[in-house]
Symmetry: C2
Subunit: 341 residues, 2 copies
DNA sequence: ATGAAAGCGCTAACAA
DNA sequence: TTGTTAGCGCTTTCAT
């Protein structure tokens, strides 16, 4: 690998001159300029970004930490996609890593990116952090880190300017409220893995909606899936085995709902005639099932955009973008799996 | 940010001693050892990985370049998952980036990782490279780069030891051969985006299978999707509009098949009674449709494992793993969307 | 317009 | 067992 020194010698100039040519950081005579480019060409020279970063004390890199294994999710894929676009726009290199072990709230992974001197880190919490001091670890980290950290998908009371979160409970309420308004009273729920905060909150939304309509929460109507098709499938079979006394099912997410649909069909329960069905996240596949499955859509685009803006504002010490709660509410997407009672 | 120098001063020792304590690269008296750790603790010191890498001339990092936007695909998600596991096992940091612009065969993205001094790069080609000298750009790159590059999902004649590929045509033949053996004769095909090599090859497999059974390829039975649900849906409608004279449809991938199923159902074409249907890639969702959709599964695990072994062998200058073609053939997964004629 | 030299934070050979 | 010193490849003052 040719170094800048090699280039400078070949071009008959000093290292600094080569650096200036490359960075356009000073006026250079056309002659030397050409000589330098020629040498670069001949030596096939490429700058060592490591050395540049060490010297400049910045890497022009944003680190993105995503939960491992969850990249099966269309939702997360979208999130990555948008992060990438926004990083590109800001002229930043996006370095993606998967969280190694979310038991520690992602702290290790974030640290690892900071040790590599990312200028800033974006962390999507997916999120077992309630097992870990309820986010205190993340809050402490934000205080301590020499670079900005923005956490997606959880609320950090001590750092409202460093987190972006959905009101998952609101999303959870949405489908239930709708069903109630359509005359449904016995509504079942297939939860996600309840070790995850997100799953807890969506379930909570279901419960809140029922209670505020004066309907008691009946534990017999609640089962737990695993956020995958298979979990939705078996949880629904379990539910059907327990009771048939319900007219609707709300699910933690779309995969769960797809699995549940299969179970219902196997038991000759008609959707939506016997039972209305709701997913969550609005996966593209929902339109292609028979019946198509109603869902709740979260504004992922607004969400990530806000997170990235927040991050860049911290990074550039500019004014923080205004928080507009309206941008973060979920909405119903009605399809043919649900109908009035 | 405290540096090693700060630590050394606080501990009353030299920089090198601190370095030795941290790297266990020499015997250290228990006393100084403790003093150093104490100073590290107090200063909240963390080594600068950039500086380490520059000095050691290695980063202990493997770069993974994946196609942008395709992370919607369960298949690619699996691939990332496995890469991560294998990198972990090898004690390497996996740095994931999305290809910025595959028109150049990913060259820019790969270069960018090498400029950051990744010790090695893994590139998943998804792949428009046939527009770009048929992979010559990649082959040239392999010759030129100072670090090993292994390319997944394309064959590079000049570098058989630097690529891992599936025989997509074989996979394509599989479903068609099966259908032919079951008495089907009029078999339609919904292709993927034909700008992609993978889509071309799978289509080619379809054609080869027909021809080797003495059946002419009828262009009226071939349409082009976009690898998404929506493309499969509209391509299938288009096909149905052209003709109903077929008893089976093979698709570029599973999403295409799911879209096609919807179109068929809308037109009251029964699957599998009127038409048998095949996807490709064996997505988990296939089991949860009614009917469940038959598919072709590629051994992604073997594939990535081999690629990573190849990469590590190049990196460590050890013997290259043996290539066993048997590990890379696709297999049929029969479900209820297909039946004998 | 260009060069010399110091410094970014670390490792490693060489001394002691 | 520990310290001194010279790099790693670049940027950036400070001179000229």
């Amino acid at each position: 690998m040719a170094t800048m020194l090699d280039v400078s010698r070949k071009a008959g100039v000093s290292k600094s001159t080569v650096s200036r040519v490359l960075n356009g950081t000073a006026k250079i005579s056309e002659a030397t300029r050409l000589a330098v480019f020629k040498a670069i060409e001949e030596l096939n020279y490429r700058p060592n970004v490591l050395a540049q970063s060490l010297s400049k004390q910045e890497t022009n890199t944003i680190g993105l930490v995503i939960p491992r294994g969850s990249n099966t999710s269309q939702y997360l894929a979208l999130l990555i996609e948008i992060s990438q676009e926004l990083a590109d726009q800001a002229g930043k290199f996006l370095m993606i890593t998967q969280v190694s072990d979310e038991v520690d709230g992602g702290v290790k992974s974030i640290r690892s990116l900071v040790d590599r001197r990312c200028d800033a880190v974006l962390y999507y919490n997916n999120s077992f952090f309630d097992h870990y001091n309820d986010g205190d670890a993340l809050s402490d980290l934000i205080d301590e880190l020499p670079v900005p950290l923005v956490v997606m998908n959880c609320y950090l009371p001590r750092h409202p300017d460093h987190c972006v979160w959905f009101d998952h409970a609101q999303g959870g309420r949405l489908a239930v409220d709708y069903l109630l308004s359509q005359g449904h009273k016995r509504i079942a729920y297939i939860a996600g893995p309840l070790s995850q905060r997100t799953a807890q909150l969506r379930l909570q939304g279901y419960q809140e909606a029922l209670l505020s309509s004066g309907i008691a929460v009946d534990p017999i109507l609640i089962t737990e899936g695993d956020r995958l098709y298979s979990g939705g499938y078996s949880a629904c079979h379990q539910l059907l085995h327990r009771t048939r006394d319900f007219t609707a099912i709300c699910c933690f997410n779309d995969s769960t709902a797809v699995g549940a649909l299969k179970a219902l069909q196997e038991k000759k329960v008609s959707v939506p005639d016997d039972v209305s069905l709701f997913g969550f996240d609005n996966d593209a596949v929902l339109d292609y099932l028979t019946p198509s499955i109603s869902s709740v859509v979260l504004p992922a685009h607004n969400f990530v955009t806000y997170a990235m803006r927040l991050l860049l504002a911290h990074l550039n010490q500019t004014e923080l973008p205004e928080f507009d709660a309206k941008l973060f509410v979920g909405e119903l997407v009605l399809r043919t799996s649900s109908k009035p009672l």
